[in-house]
């Protein structure tokens, strides 16, 4: 039945095969990179945890030894207490804050929202420093501690306070989203049956927001459990697992115990991630396309009380940030309050960290640039190309993995995997490159999800149409996908930049003296008693993050305005 026409190669076949190869090749490349820079380091932790120092397999002996040690009993309980208390403080505060913004008629909602998000711009150590200024041995509010029967801010009280501040914006963001989704029809139905306000709150609002509440609790708990900076600065003698790991790996070069503690940290993080994942899946089913968004109506008493709460919270947050900033500009807190820039100059120089800020800028810049490009193209490859179907679930799993892995654990994985003479990639160890790569991997999941969400909003048939018009997919990617998603790409870059500026948990295991970054130098400065210089460094980070964030937002706004013509109004 074959004809001559059948045997002739189809028109343009070779060109399109090259195209198909490019589409698959990108996916393979992404998959390989995620395996080398994520899966293998994590696997190394597993391996090292069941080996002795000589590399011989010892089964669970390392675990047995660590579980039997008094250090574990103490740090384990301490870590859970710290994370539990932080969650109990943060989530209700964040809920009321988010409720005030989404479900009341208080004025200046945008302002309150932005104030609540400020801590994201700061390293978590900044809050710890501020609470030392406020409640420390020379703190001007130290007397307040006495009212609550607390002897010193160092230890659990300071840690919980600082961590509540640091995790507050993350909880607020989740709850803002959780409370944004509500069907006005439910409230109208309740009104038609003359339901009192408190009953509507208990039967409609809370159940509707419960997934958001659980999700926020999980995120705050995980952040606290693997937090390094806060306990390091304000923890005093209160030992937690995160500090133990650091001491074992960096202090004693005991990689086996470090690996064991890393795995122990991973368990609650994985559990929280799993719960959050289940909960989020349920959240999706809550609203249908037919739902009508809820718009709050004024209620004088409720609105006034919520406004008071929001003002108090905002003032507290500004106080915490402001305290550290002020501290960086005074000579000797609290004895000599005259203005000085010395901490920014001689302070850094004296401690030998004057290159740290520049390093941070280099790190954050590369993370923003490379991270945005890799994440967006990676998301495009996994969402919009065809072929290599077997690889897609693997890529998806790998892309989501960093979200479940605390930075400290990833850091240990890197040190175990790359600081190994037999690894050809070992040359990366101690370079800026590895700091960039580890930071991109650490923040990959959220960026990937952001990119995927943006891509999913594009018509799925763009690629099909281009193929039918014989336009290769990369041309459509460049002419259509990138321009449409440019605001999202910028946002991903900003996210990487700010996180690279503030993060400490991964890089603390991987830096060399010449690649020390600003966040690590805060810890170093505080360790050597230079609290004011530490505040100066934290202030520099906040200021830089703020400038970059405002700059990006302005650029996004300009982009949206200049593309108003085709984005239309309703889309």
């Amino acid at each position: 039945m074959s004809t001559l026409a059948d045997r002739r190669p189809a028109w343009g076949l070779s060109a399109t095969w090259g195209e198909a190869l490019a589409a698959r090749g990108g996916l393979v490349l992404l998959c390989a990179a995620l395996i080398v820079f994520l899966a293998l380091p994590l696997a190394t932790i597993l391996m090292r945890s069941v080996e002795d120092r000589g590399g011989t397999f010892v089964g669970l002996a390392n675990f047995a030894a660590y579980f039997a040690s008094p250090a574990f009993a103490r740090s384990g309980v301490n870590t859970l207490t710290f994370a539990g208390l932080t969650t109990i403080f943060t989530v209700p505060l964040a809920f009321v804050f988010a409720f005030a913004i989404q479900r009341s008629c208080i004025p200046w909602k945008g302002l309150w929202r932005n104030i609540a998000l400020i801590p994201i711009l700061a390293p978590s150590m900044l809050a710890a420093l501020s609470f030392i200024y406020l409640f420390g041995n020379q703190g001007w509010l130290k007397v307040v501690l006495g009212w609550f029967g607390v002897a010193t801010v160092y230890g659990l009280p300071g840690m919980v306070l600082a961590m509540t501040f640091a995790s507050f914006p993350h909880a607020v963001m989740i709850l803002l989203a959780g409370l944004a989704l509500s069907d006005a029809r439910l409230y109208e139905a309740a009104d038609s049956m003359a339901t009192p306000e408190w009953r509507k709150f208990l039967t409609i609002t809370l159940p509707g927001a419960r997934y958001g509440i659980i999700s926020a609790a999980m995120v705050v708990f995980t952040m606290a459990i693997s937090e390094f900076g806060v306990p390091k600065v304000i923890g005093g003698n209160y030992s937690v697992l995160a500090i133990d790991i650091y001491k074992q790996v960096i202090g004693q070069q005991n990689f086996q115990t470090g690996a064991v503690v890393g795995l122990i940290l991973l368990i609650p993080a994985l559990a929280a991630f799993a719960i959050d994942h289940v909960v989020r899946a349920k959240q999706k089913a809550l609203l249908t396309a037919r739902s009508v968004p809820y718009a709050p109506r004024p209620a004088l008493v409720r609105d006034r009380m919520l406004l008071l709460f929001v003002i108090l919270m905002s003032m507290a947050m500004l106080l915490v940030i402001g305290m550290a900033v002020c501290g960086s500009f005074v000579k000797i807190w609290p004895y000599n309050l005259s203005f000085t820039l010395n901490h920014y100059t001689y302070g850094f120089e004296e401690a030998g960290v004057d290159h740290a800020y520049r390093n941070s800028l280099i790190l954050a810049g590369w993370c923003a640039l490379l991270g945005a490009v890799i994440t967006f193209s990676g998301a495009y490859w996994s969402e919009k190309t065809r072929g290599a179907q077997a690889l897609r679930p693997v890529v998806h799993l790998l892309a989501m993995m960093p979200m479940a892995v605390p930075g400290l654990v990833l850091g240990i994985g890197y040190i175990l995997f790359f600081n190994n003479p037999s690894n050809p990639l070992g040359m990366l160890y101690g370079t800026m490159t590895i700091l960039v790569l580890s930071t991109i991997v650490h923040f990959y999941s959220t960026s990937h999800l952001t990119a995927v969400t943006a891509l999913k909003q594009l018509d799925n048939e763009f690629e099909s149409v281009s193929a039918s018009l014989k336009v290769p997919f990369y041309k459509t990617f460049w002419r259509v996908t990138v321009p449409v998603c440019l605001p999202t790409v910028l946002d991903i870059g900003r996210y990487y930049f700010v996180n690279a500026m503030t993060t400490i948990s991964v890089v603390v295991f991987l830096y060399a003296p010449k690649t020390m970054v600003a966040s690590i130098s805060i810890v170093k400065l505080e360790e050597s008693g230079m609290v004011n210089a530490a505040s100066a460094m934290a202030t520099l980070i906040v200021a830089t993050s703020a400038v970059v964030t405002i700059g990006t937002l302005a650029a996004e706004a300009w982009l949206l305005r200049s593309s108003q013509a085709w984005r239309g109004t309703g889309k």
Partner: protein, 368 residues
């Protein structure tokens, strides 16, 4: 076969041979064979999940068939990627590039062929005029209505003069008025350009009014291929009879020579070789009723009488549900126009006589 192109008939514009598609355990398409002639418009019609969209996507190369061959203009494109095939496609969602002007959208496939700018501009103008939007060039898709966007998508698909046009539920996203208008325009355009067209739709009215032939599909198989009138008047299977328009299904017993007993009433239709005593189902459309003004109904073959139990007003006509004398409770739906209902005194509770068109009755074996 090489000589066929010289002496024999022109090859089919598109030939599907034994197309089979399996998703996991789900069989989406079962050995589909189909030939589409040059210049005709065929509709894949069927309920959602019948495999019609999958079949279209296989023709486009957007899905890969598990087995079978796709032959376009005599060329086997079974394993060719989409870009190596020759077709234009229009989707339900329009899929216009939002950041490009209408002109750039229509020119999208032309630019890639390295044509001169003046040539491209002329072609774009020609196409936009063809779809009735000569001045839309500088606009963006978001500034146009759904119907206008779909016209642009059509222009874009036709820009490269493909030999085959694929339409995937092109009218489903539009409102009723716009849908009806565009239906006529697409058909006119297709006739003028004589471009072979395959359209997927679940809307039977759309399929019947637009296509040269309909391909009625169900559960991954083709139930019937035929002109719209054939499929409607002489449905090949109970599914087709049921899917296209309204139909009465009456349980009956064959008496031989085209005579059937429903309850205690005897109906006469064309003989079709079914053995006496066999249980069958008679399929009969509500409009297959002899008009009363062609003579006294009582003396006609298949004359019936019954009481109107329910009367639904459907706009242009009434649908009466009859309790027919001797039918043993099997209800019969019959259409009456507004005037007929008035003249014959059709109202709920009324007793009305009428006769059925025996030659229109379709007989299918089996009781279920």
């Amino acid at each position: 076969m090489a000589s066929a192109s010289e002496s024999g008939p022109a090859p089919d514009a598109l030939r599907l041979e034994g197309i089979h598609k399996v998703f996991g355990n789900f069989v989406a398409l079962q050995s589909i064979d189909l030939a589409i002639h040059p210049g005709e418009l065929v509709c894949f019609l069927g309920p959602s999940g019948c495999g019609k969209t999958t079949l279209l996507r296989i023709i486009a190369g957007l899905e890969t068939q598990t087995r079978g061959r796709v032959i376009q203009n005599g060329r086997d494109v079974s394993s060719a990627p989409p870009a190596a095939r020759d077709y234009g496609i229009v989707f339900q969602s329009y899929a216009l590039f939002p950041n490009l002007t209408i002109r750039a959208n229509v020119a999208y496939g032309l630019v890639n062929r390295r044509k001169a700018k003046a040539e491209i501009d002329a072609r774009v103008r020609e196409l936009l005029t063809l779809v009735g939007l000569p001045d839309a060039g500088p606009k963006y898709p978001s500034q146009m209505s759904g119907g206008q966007q779909q016209r642009v998508a059509l222009a874009r698909a036709l820009a490269t003069s493909p030999s085959l046009l694929l339409l995937d539920e092109p009218l489903s996203a539009l409102d009723a008025k716009e849908r009806e208008r565009l239906r006529g325009e697409i058909r006119q355009l297709q006739r003028r350009l004589r471009v072979t067209t395959v359209m997927v739709t679940h809307d039977q009215e759309e399929a019947l009014s637009m296509s040269d032939r309909v391909i009625v599909m169900n559960q991954g198989t083709i139930e019937q291929v035929g002109t719209p009138l054939e499929a409607y008047e002489r449905p090949a299977t109970p599914f087709v009879a049921d899917f296209l328009g309204k139909v009465n299904v009456l349980k009956a017993v064959c008496l031989g020579e085209g005579r059937y007993r429903v309850g205690s009433v005897e109906l006469v239709t064309e003989a079709n070789g079914i053995a006496p005593g066999e249980t069958v189902r008679l399929y009969l459309r509500p409009e297959d009723r002899v008009l009363a003004d062609s003579g006294p109904v009582e003396q006609m073959p298949n004359a019936l009488a019954g009481i109107v139990r329910r009367l639904d007003f459907l706009g242009t006509y009434f649908l009466a549900s009859f309790d027919v004398d001797g039918f043993d409770g099997q209800r019969l739906l019959v259409y009456f126009s507004l005037n007929q209902a008035l003249e014959l005194g059709v109202h709920e509770g009324a007793r009305v006589g009428f006769a059925l068109r025996g030659e229109r009755v379709r007989v299918f074996a089996g009781a279920e």
